[in-house]
């Protein structure tokens, strides 16, 4: 209890918790869950984007997308490393994902059906992620904060590229504009869901806030995201698919419609359009690669033994 008090004091004083510091088990567990989920999201998020790599309509865009996917791999590795400082191995975290025990952001259970989706994922999905991550970068756990700071920079870059892709469509033909609008129609609500349940329905949030794992509530972050995004949508000349969306002079924020939490629960539960596909692809890559990883291990062991002689 004394340790716990000291821990909380550090948190309250905005002193970063470092791996060697004492921390409550629940704090550690919450962080591992959240960080591994975050890392998994980077990895699974490659799937919808990878779906358009071979069909990217210009070389410039193809190369941007390749670089983005590469960055995401890097983010995944970086966050796994940060999470490993809490005593759980990357292999354990990945095994939990393969076994369906760990989660990743539900947004990646929606399909990337058109080229416009690549832009929308950059603009809305990365945009929502950044809103989250900026808050997370001010959290209490040192390694995670530092990862977030670094990642946010690259994500902002991706977000701008996504927006710029959509801008090209918005200046294009009627078909391109329709493709853009359709994509935003499909991704708008799922993006808002990325911030999680309403505060009233978010039971774990209070503790996370106290520990400064979370610095802002789900609804706060969601509102920030909406406020930042609506003007960008206007600039693109598109309609966001929410008839209740309008500026509230009094609040100084945009009001928005009720989120379909049933759909949210549905997708979380495993019944999104792509949950099974994403899991299957992830597991297949792992299984197809078994012989390769075994070879690398055997080689390393052999040569470590030789070096020791």
């Amino acid at each position: 209890a004394k340790l716990e008090a000291r821990f909380q004091q550090m948190v309250d004083d905005d002193i970063k918790i470092e791996p060697q510091d004492w921390m409550p088990d629940a704090y550690r567990k919450t962080l591992v869950r959240q960080m591994s989920q975050h890392a998994h999201s980077e990895v699974i998020g490659m799937q919808p984007e990878g779906n358009w790599l071979t069909r990217a309509p210009s070389l410039r865009r193809k190369v941007i997308l390749l670089a983005k996917i590469q960055d995401e791999g890097g983010h995944g590795l970086y966050i796994y490393s940060a999470a490993e400082t809490l005593g759980t191995s990357r292999e354990d975290m990945c095994k939990a994902l393969r076994d369906g025990k760990a989660k990743y952001s539900s947004i990646f259970n929606y399909p990337a059906l058109t080229w416009a989706d690549i832009g929308t994922i950059g603009w809305l999905v990365d945009g929502a992620a950044i809103t989250n991550q900026v808050a997370l970068s001010k959290g209490s756990y040192g390694p995670y904060c530092r990862a977030m700071i670094r990642i946010c920079k690259e994500e902002s870059f991706h977000q701008r590229q996504g927006y710029e892709l959509l801008l090209s469509l918005s200046k294009g033909t009627a078909e391109q504009k329709a493709m853009l609008q359709d994509s935003v129609n499909r991704f708008w609500w799922p993006s808002l869901m990325m911030f999680g349940p309403n505060d009233a329905d978010s039971p774990h949030s209070a503790q996370s806030m106290k520990w400064k794992i979370k610095k802002k509530s789900n609804d706060q972050l969601r509102q920030e995201f909406i406020d930042a995004t609506v003007p960008q949508a206007e600039f693109l000349g598109i309609t966001l698919p929410d008839p209740d969306l309008k500026w509230n002079e009094e609040r100084g924020h945009y009001d928005y419609g009720e989120i379909d939490w049933e759909e949210f629960a549905h997708v979380i539960k495993g019944n999104g359009p792509c949950n099974k596909q994403r899991a299957a692809a992830y597991i297949k890559a792992h299984e197809d690669g078994t012989w390769v990883r075994e070879a690398a291990n055997a080689y390393a062991a052999k040569h470590a033994a030789q070096a020791a002689e």
């Binding site: 790599l53 590469q70 791999g73 390769v292 055997a298």
Partner: protein, 256 residues
């Protein structure tokens, strides 16, 4: 073939080199979310990035030299199958990790020598591209050599698989060292690389790595030709361009 002006020949030559980069880069990009580890995936994405990047520069230059106002995307998206002059090695399917590594190794061992020579081209633009690409290609060669050694000298299974990959891809090696018409035409002026002359050193590199990987070099049997000299591809190529070009063919003339 009727004799081309030097500029036309340079345009074709640059495009031909670019085709190799684009097509093998395309194949690598197909590995997205399918590689055995994230690190390996990132390495392949990185190679794809380099190779497609090289293609972009070469196509751009091909457009300038050709004098018809063609842009990089015209080369990638608006030519037909027989206009692509990549080596067939670049287009064969990825297969397993072993096939992918062996292909990249063969190609990178070649590119390493090729770009070194190209950086001496009398055409300063090609020389500059050669110099820049060389740095990237050295990394590809190291990456693929290291993996080939791991696979060859890893487990029994990986050894057998790697050997099988080498055996099955060997028939595409010979084409790397054949001279296309434009290459011949530009050779006298010191613009193009004499690829025939690269074989000996290529063998040297390959033999050294294979030895370290405890793998054996296949007998030279025959070489499958066609892509580079005539744009006569394998049946696999058609599927590459249906994917790659679909958007441009569906929405002609759009900016993306």
């Amino acid at each position: 073939m009727t004799e081309l002006t030097q500029q036309q020949a340079i345009s074709r030559y640059a495009a031909q080199i670019g085709d190799n980069g684009l097509i093998i880069g395309h194949r690598m990009s197909e590995w997205c979310f399918k590689a055995p580890t994230i690190e390996m995936e990132m390495a392949l994405m990185n190679c794809a990035l380099d190779l497609i990047g090289q293609a972009r520069e070469l196509y751009t230059y091909a457009g300038v030299a050709g004098g018809e106002g063609k842009k990089e995307d015209d080369f990638a998206y608006l030519r037909d199958e027989q206009d692509f002059r990549n080596n067939l090695l670049a287009e064969v399917p990825n297969g397993d990790w072993g096939d992918t590594i062996v292909r990249l190794f063969f190609m990178s061992a070649f590119n390493n020598l090729f770009y070194k020579a190209l950086s001496q081209s009398k055409d300063t633009q090609l020389a500059a591209i050669g110099e820049k690409s060389l740095k990237e290609v050295i990394y590809h060669l190291r990456f693929s050599s290291e993996w080939l050694i791991r696979l060859g000298d890893g487990t029994e299974e990986s050894h057998a698989r790697a050997q099988k990959s080498i055996d099955s891809l060997w028939m595409y090696v010979g084409e790397l060292f054949t001279m296309s018409d434009v290459e011949k035409q530009l050779l006298a002026d010191g613009i193009s690389v004499d690829v025939e002359a690269l074989r000996e050193e290529w063998e040297h590199t390959v033999n050294r790595v294979l030895r370290q990987a405890t793998l054996h070099r296949p007998q030279d049997d025959w070489a499958m030709l066609g892509g580079k000299a005539e744009g006569r591809h394998t049946e696999h190529f058609g599927y590459i361009i249906t994917d790659m070009q679909y958007m441009q063919r569906r929405y002609p003339g759009c900016e993306w």
